[in-house]
């Protein structure tokens, strides 16, 4: 410690240094690294959904060397975390998009990889890519299996533009070693 620093010159104030010892999962931002399921993941995007009435959910895209997953935080009395991976819409059955177009809703029950999923809830919202506007209007239908340990989601982004994902609930403690990184200089 130099003399000048000792007397408070050129010393960083405490609040300028982020709290690195207790970084939480919700602190994740683009370029951050986090360990999950024996792998290190890099945060490559951070989006959020506005479901109206102040109901927001956040989504982080995580990439490892061979996988991409989506970490989502929604708040319903308490924070609920889940991960999901995109799946081809066709894997849910060819008739799902048609069913939505014809009935404005997908079926109440869907079987995927031998598991029966039940429609849990659906909502319309605004999607903010990279947490910035303009908002993209979308609809989402969320399914759960009997145990509540497996999720399935169908999203509609346009007249005939659909996406599907399969996931599961996760606990915050499953994610460790969060490492912050400065945003990449362009």
């Amino acid at each position: 410690m130099g003399l000048l620093e000792f007397f408070g010159f050129g010393k960083k104030k405490q609040e300028e240094i982020p709290s690195l010892t207790d970084l939480k999962l919700s602190d994740l931002d683009v370029r951050y690294m986090v360990d999950y399921d024996m792998k290190t993941w890099e945060v490559t995007a951070r989006h959020y959904y506005d479901w109206g009435a102040g109901d927001l959910s956040y989504e982080w895209q995580l990439k490892s060397h061979d996988d991409t997953l989506y970490l989502e935080k929604s708040t319903d009395d308490e924070d609920e975390w889940s991960i999901s991976r995109k799946i081809p819409m066709g894997r849910l059955g060819a008739n799902i998009p048609r069913h939505i177009v014809e009935n404005e809703d997908p079926p109440d029950e869907i079987t995927y990889e031998g598991v029966l999923y039940y429609l849990e809830e659906w909502a319309g919202g605004d999607f903010y890519k990279e947490s910035q506007g303009p908002a993209h209007k979308m609809l989402a239908w969320d399914y759960e299996d009997d145990t509540g340990e497996k999720y399935l989601s169908i999203e509609q982004w346009g007249e005939e533009d659909f996406e599907a994902s399969a996931g599961q609930p996760v606990e915050e403690y499953e994610f460790t070693n969060i490492l912050p990184r400065e945003p990449e200089r362009v």
């Binding site: 410690m1 405490q14 240094i17 890099e42 490892s64 490492l179």
Partner: protein, 235 residues
């Protein structure tokens, strides 16, 4: 105390106060924690970079492995086309050899990349260990600081109370009360004495006055009586 001694004392206490401030263990611990956090930030930045490199290297190695497999598949397709006559066999063999050469190169790159990724991952693990160690040290220091702050506050309050207690001169107060009591008693005695003296003086005065007044009165009364008797013709 001379003015010089007093000035010296004032200077001495100021100097001690400054030294005490410099040696304040809480401030020193806070500074230590800030320094540790700066170290942690640097270590975490380095670790994040190493992990990022490890992911990219592993991804590159995987891609090279896939490309190697793809070149092998292409070499097989070329040979099949050569066999089926779709492509001239010698040309198919030349291209298949090229593809196999590429496959070898990719496979070697994949192995090298995989080894490099492993080295980065190992380095990341070591760095992670160091980062966890610094985090643990900071956590311990912060807990100690909380305890230290509480102890310092308790000590300061205790010191203040004890100082206040020490400053209270109980015996002096009691002596003062005794003195006051004695004075009151003395005053009371004096008051009684004055009272007695006053009553004694009064009685003497009264006697004298009474004697004097009675004398005058009887004389006045006698004169009046004689005058009345004279008026009535009584002898």
């Amino acid at each position: 105390m001379s003015i010089f001694s007093r000035l010296f004392k004032i200077g001495q206490s100021e100097a001690h106060s400054v030294v005490n401030r410099f040696e304040d263990p809480i401030k020193l611990t806070e500074q230590g924690i800030r320094d540790l956090k700066t170290d942690l930030q640097q270590a975490m930045t380095s670790l994040a970079e190493v992990k990022g490199i490890a992911i990219r290297t592993r991804k590159d190695a995987d891609n090279k492995k896939k490309l190697a497999a793809d070149y092998e598949r292409k070499a097989m397709l070329l040979l099949q086309k050569g066999q089926s006559g779709a492509v001239d066999m010698s040309e198919a063999e030349r291209l298949a050899t090229e593809a196999l050469s590429k496959k070898e190169q990719m496979a070697q790159d994949a192995v090298r990349g995989s080894q490099e990724a492993q080295r980065h991952e190992q380095m990341a693990n070591n760095l992670q260990g160091n980062v966890n160690k610094i985090k643990s040290t900071i956590s311990t220091a912060e807990n100690d600081l909380t305890t230290l702050r509480a102890r310092a506050k308790t000590a300061s309050s205790t010191k203040k109370i004890n100082k206040q207690l020490a400053n209270i001169d109980t015996s002096g107060t009691m002596a003062m009360l005794e003195k006051m009591k004695a004075k009151v008693e003395e005053d009371e005695s004096l008051a009684i004495a004055y009272g007695e003296m006053a009553s004694a003086e009064k009685s003497v005065d009264d006697e004298i006055s009474r004697a004097l007044e009675s004398g005058n009165q009887s004389a006045a009364t006698s004169a009046s009586l004689l005058e009345l008797k004279k008026k009535m013709g009584i002898e």
